[in-house]
Each structure stands twice: as structure tokens, then as C-alpha cells.
Symmetry: D2
Subunit: 129 residues, 4 copies
Amino acid sequence: MSSRDDTTSQRKLIDVGALASTLAEFARERDWEQFHSPKNLVMALTGEVGELAELFQWMSEDDSRNAASDARVGPAVRDELADVLVYLVRLASVLGVDLNAAVGQKLKTNAAKYPVSASKGTSKKYTEL
Amino acid sequence: MSSRDDTTSQRKLIDVGALASTLAEFARERDWEQFHSPKNLVMALTGEVGELAELFQWMSEDDSRNAASDARVGPAVRDELADVLVYLVRLASVLGVDLNAAVGQKLKTNAAKYPVSASKGTSKKYTEL
Amino acid sequence: MSSRDDTTSQRKLIDVGALASTLAEFARERDWEQFHSPKNLVMALTGEVGELAELFQWMSEDDSRNAASDARVGPAVRDELADVLVYLVRLASVLGVDLNAAVGQKLKTNAAKYPVSASKGTSKKYTEL
Amino acid sequence: MSSRDDTTSQRKLIDVGALASTLAEFARERDWEQFHSPKNLVMALTGEVGELAELFQWMSEDDSRNAASDARVGPAVRDELADVLVYLVRLASVLGVDLNAAVGQKLKTNAAKYPVSASKGTSKKYTEL
């Protein structure tokens, strides 16, 4: 295997290291580690996803495709996506979960659950394919 | 400024590019783009966060700190974190939102809302500080 | 005013008393009161709402209108609605909140926030009317 | 069986009829029926549950038991519980689901899944009992 292949095969699906460090420092400076139990962070994540849902609740699917470029709702969408990301990364971090490894494993599972031939053009769950 | 400084200052908080590409290809192969409206993906994200919450709902905060290393619940925790990540990245992708930029902006907002002096050791919302 | 009118005017918006009692007994028999802190029940409620969202996530709005009469998804919809109701009533119960009073108060607030003249035909939030 | 027993056995677990009617009228007056598809209402329900979670996210389990009597957070707790109830009842209503029947069926299922002998003092899911 050439070194080029090596590099390619080792490219991470995601790298959230710098954000995780920044969030850890942010919490440490404020003495917030006491509040950041995984249980609490799951609730905080829930809350942010709820705020995201509120932005989309009365929108048609078609309108939702243009939500980010809408002058009124776009900034709020970016804000809430960032909030969800912040709590997801912080949660994985305090749990000691490697998100890149977890998602790599998940993609393998999903590819096995949803072979192209069976799942093409259908939104059915793998248990119903 | 040296080129090295340039590189450093440009280090991304997160890089989800490879995952976003993989998910786009996964959807395209299965003709799933028709289902992946932002509105639908927000609901899917909600569903996965709900599954995550189920894992933690009866756990004490203390037990939640060891959830990932628990033989029984650990694999499920990694699975659900990955599912949340998958839908978050896919959602940002179809919306055309740059998550790295959005979270960079958000961190600035949070730093302004929660100065260390006012927020140290308290979980109060910025509106109550 | 006759006593009959009195009775009518006092008709409750909701009456969840029998369900609340049944759930309390169910928990007591199983020694589950230790797990039923409001914090935990909020997470359980979140989990059930997540399962409900999963049923609707890939459905069009039009199809969602017929979800309950669909032979495949209908029973699951009823099941998840019941689960959400169970945790909501149990949560209010352990918190000591009178849901009928709370919703009566809320309806007054909503009527004030959304006068017919300003809110007719628009899904805008009251802060934007 | 006496007629008195008949009456007793027919007592509803819940009665949400008056609230459902009030909400239907509220929507009709404002021409909001167009927005109230089940899919949209599930998202609205999600949003309200998210707001409820936000109130409890940094609270200890012990503190959560006194949340409703807390002068600062109590009114917000009642408000959010009412919001969740409103969307749940409205959702069942537009779906044509009889919540009383659904929850009656659910209680039977739960009693079978969680016999007292097997589930006493444990928070394990029925699949693990």
C-alpha cells in the first residue's frame, strides 16, 4: 500500500477535536463541569433540538428547503444547528465517546441494513424491507 | 504573520466534510433525496435524540457519567450518538449551512452572553445573570 | 342561576383524575416511585415524543392526515399518543400540578397573544404579529 | 351487575372533550386548520417538550421534585405542561384518535409487559426483565 493510500484510508469522517477542546475549556473556566453530566447534557440537547423543530413546525417541506437562505429564519436556523452540535460534541466528550469511530461503525451497520437493491426509492424502515 | 500562523489560525473547530459527502452519496444511491427535506430531517433528528434520552431516563446523574463504559448500555449510547450526528450533518448539508462557521459564530455569542465573572459556578441562563 | 347551570359552567376542560390514580397505583405496586422524579419523567416524555416523531418523519403532510386510519401505522400512532399522555399525566401528578387549571390559564394567555384579527390565516409567532 | 357497577366500570380514564372542542374552535376562528396537519402538530409537540426539558436540564432530581412550588420556575413549568397538553389533545383530535380508548389499551399492554413480580423495584425495560 502506498503512503497515498494510507492517507486516504485514514481520512476521518469527522474531526471535532478543536471544538471539543474549546468547549471543555469554556466549561472549566466557568466551573460548569459540575452541571455537565451526560444525563443533563442529553436534556440540553433535547431542548436545542426542540428549538430547531419550532423553526420548522409550520413550514411546508418545500419552504424548508430554502430555510437557511431566508433572511428572517436563516440566522436562527444556523444558531440552533450550532447549539445542537455544541451539546452533541460536549456530550460525547464527557462520555469519552469517539464520535468519528462511532459514526464509522454506524455507517457500516446502515449499509448492511439498507442495501441499495432493497431500499431504493422507499422510506421504509429496514425491519419492513 | 508566518504561513505556520496562518495554518494555525485557520484550524477548523470541526470538519465534517467526509461524513457529509458519504451521507450524500448514501442518499443518492438509494434515491432518498426526495425524503431528505430539512423538515423531515429535523423530525428524524428529533427521533434519534428521543432514543438517546430513553437510554438515560432512569439513570442517576452519577451513573450517566459511566454510561459509555457500561457493557450493557455503552454500545447503544455510541449508536445513538452516531445517529444524532448523522442526521445533524445531513440536515446542515441539505440546508447548505456551514456548521464550522455557524458554531464559530455561536461560540462568540456564548462568550459574550456568559462572561466568566458573571457565570462562574452557576447554571443560570444569561437572561437571569 | 340554577344548580344545573353551575355544574355546566364548571365543566372541566379536561379530567385526568382516574388515569392519574391508576398510574400512581401502577408505580406504587412496582416500587417505581423512586424512579419517577420529574426530571426523569421529562426525559421519558421526550423519548415517547421522539418515537411519535419517528412515525411521521418521512410522511407528507397529506399522508399524515390519514395516519390513524392506516392499517400499518395506525396502531403505532395510537400507542405512542397513549405513551405521551401517560408520561404527561404522571409528570403533572408527581409535580402536583393541576393540568386543568394550567391549561385554562394557558388558553387565556393564548387568546390574548393571538387575537383573531391579527392572527387569522398566519402561522407567525405572536412576537412577530 | 348493578347499574351502579356499570357506571363505575364506564368511568373514563380521561375526558379531554371540552379542551378538544375549545382548541378546534380556536383554530377555526383563526383559519389555522391549514397549518394543523398531524405532521406539523407532532413537530409543535416536540418543540414544547423541548422547552419543558430546558427547565429541568440543570436541575438535580431532588430539586426537580419541588419545581412546581418554586416561585421562579413553577409558573413556567405549569405553562409548558399546558402547552404539551394542548398540542397532544389537538394532535389526537385532528387524527381522530380517541385518547381515552388508546390509553386504556396501553394500560392493559403495560400491565402484561410489567407484571409486579418481575418488575418490582427495577427500571429495566420489559425486553430485559
